[in-house]
């Protein structure tokens, strides 16, 4: 584990050369648009793209695992407590400590970061999907059974569609918290929006910290908004209220 202040695998000078920079950069003012313009395609844009990829991969894997576990425990309640206990323990480990635990096993790699990020999505996603499956009113299930739907048909046609709102609520929290958490990935790998923040911290270079931080916040807001739109599209029955 590399201690803070000595960034891992920092290739070449990323910190702007203050000697050749603009007055704004040299004086390290709060926000220098010219620096952003000069470093967008070289530093900020790649960091943003990496950040999106780290987040998507983590949430996708976390969703698949949570979905499987939720389907299993929906039928076999016996396994619910062990699954929740596991997810809750993972959730309570501080990210720095988790990296520390993982680096000897998986090294300074994307895998280390993803294992940690996936781990933090499990509790929220699993609990929300399961809660969604269980939120189906008993009279709806009885009607389904009484009309001759099989268990599988009830799951796919009734329970899963009705679990969408709770699942989407879980996804929103998971995505936003993963975007925030993925900045810490820079401790392990030179990727994501955390990396420029990390480098700029050493020189206290305000513009870079500010812009990379703002991109992370903006990304979280945009992702959340997209998920809200997706949820509305997926649950047309929830948009309508009684007319009379």
């Amino acid at each position: 584990m590399t201690p803070l202040g000595e960034p891992v695998a920092a290739q070449g000078p990323v910190i702007p050369d203050f000697g050749k920079g603009s007055d704004c950069v040299v004086e390290n003012r709060l926000f220098c648009p010219d620096w952003v313009r000069d470093n967008w395609s070289g530093t900020l844009e790649p960091a943003l793209v990496e950040h999106v990829k780290l987040t998507l991969l983590a949430v996708a894997i976390g969703f698949v695992l949570s979905f499987g576990a939720a389907l299993l425990t929906h039928r076999l309640r016996l396994f619910e407590k062990p699954v929740v206990a596991f997810a809750a323990i993972v959730y309570t480990i501080p990210s720095l400590a988790l990296f520390q635990l993982l680096v000897p096993v998986t090294g300074l790699t994307v895998a280390t970061v993803e294992v940690a990020l996936v781990g933090y999505t499990l509790l929220i996603l699993y609990r929300n999907i399961l809660e969604g499956l269980r939120s189906v009113p008993p009279d709806v299930l009885e009607a389904a059974r009484g009309m001759g739907l099989t268990r599988r048909q009830t799951l796919w046609r009734i329970e899963l569609p009705l679990a969408v709102p709770a699942t989407m609520a879980g996804l929103r929290v998971a995505v936003v918290s993963t975007i925030a958490l993925a900045t810490v990935a820079a401790l392990v790998i030179p990727q994501g929006l955390g990396y420029p923040i990390f480098l700029a911290l050493r020189e206290a270079f305000k513009t870079e910290i500010l812009v990379a931080g703002a991109l992370a916040v903006g990304l979280a807001l945009v992702a959340d908004a997209l998920l809200v739109v997706a949820e509305r599209a997926l649950t047309p029955w929830n948009r309508t209220r009684r007319v009379t």
């Binding site: 009113p137 009279d139 709806v140 299930l141 009885e142 009607a143 389904a144 059974r145 009484g146 009309m147 001759g148 739907l149 099989t150 048909q153 046609r157 009734i158 569609p161 009705l162 649950t235 047309p236 029955w237 309508t240 209220r241 009684r242 007319v243 009379t244």
Partner: protein, 319 residues
Amino acid sequence: MSGVAAEIAFDRATKRYPGRAEPAVRELTLTIPAGAICCLVGPSGAGKTTAMKMVNRLIDISEGDITIGGTSVRSLDVTQLRRGIGYVIQQVGLFPHMSVAENVATVPRLLGWPKARIAARVDELLDLVELPAIDYRDRYPAQLSGGERQRVGLARALAADPPVMLMDEPFGALDPITRARLQHELLRIQHELRKTIVFVTHDIDEAILLGDRIAILREGGVLAQYDTPDALLAHPADEFVERFLGSDRGLKLLALRRLDELDLAPLDGADGPTADGSTTLRDALSQMITAGARSLVVLDGTGTPQGVVTLESLTGVAA
């Protein structure tokens, strides 16, 4: 088993739950003629819902058997059996994420009907339950009133034209006005479709109104009496049935019959208050009381006097 109504026969059907000494339903034997409504009534704990749910095997039969059109329900695949039986429950259980049309189309879709046939059937059924298809087919259940929901529930149960319908207190959660309206619509629909219906209710008045036959169950799932409403009211088998029918069972009996069903006394130039032949005996009695008269002149549809009904002829109907 589709289309034509089928006879339902309970043959010593018994339901025992493990760990309980007394059965929930004990050796229930009764035959519901094809095309009749049979109301199962009784206090809570009398096993009326249990008895009904044994028909579509939502509850397994412990001993004995139930046959539909001569075929044992135990011999059929359970999902096939259920798809051939309409099922309506008190809370309706509409699928909230599906439109009215999709809800009604549930069983036809399970049975793999072609799309055009399903769409035509949905429109036909919505018209039958008096929810104009053009206004209602694309609504979601959250956009319907309680009465409208139960109409959709009824349409959904009728969708694949099952010969048999099970209805578990379908109107129990509705306000009295909506309930009365839906009861009469069920009778209108039944007049047209002639299904064999098992109708569970705890409301004896509802059972008298709707049932061609009434089965009164007592605690412990024992059949107390199975008869037509008229015979039940006139000749209750025991004290339990008598109490269950209520102290006004004489009036209930009068309410079942109309003046034009009676043998009237000759006119002989009689004078006094008049009543139409379609008046129930109960209303005729009420009219005598309010008019302070011991007889009424009965008129036919055109207002022509047909004869006289006397107080004595009313008090003698149960004999």
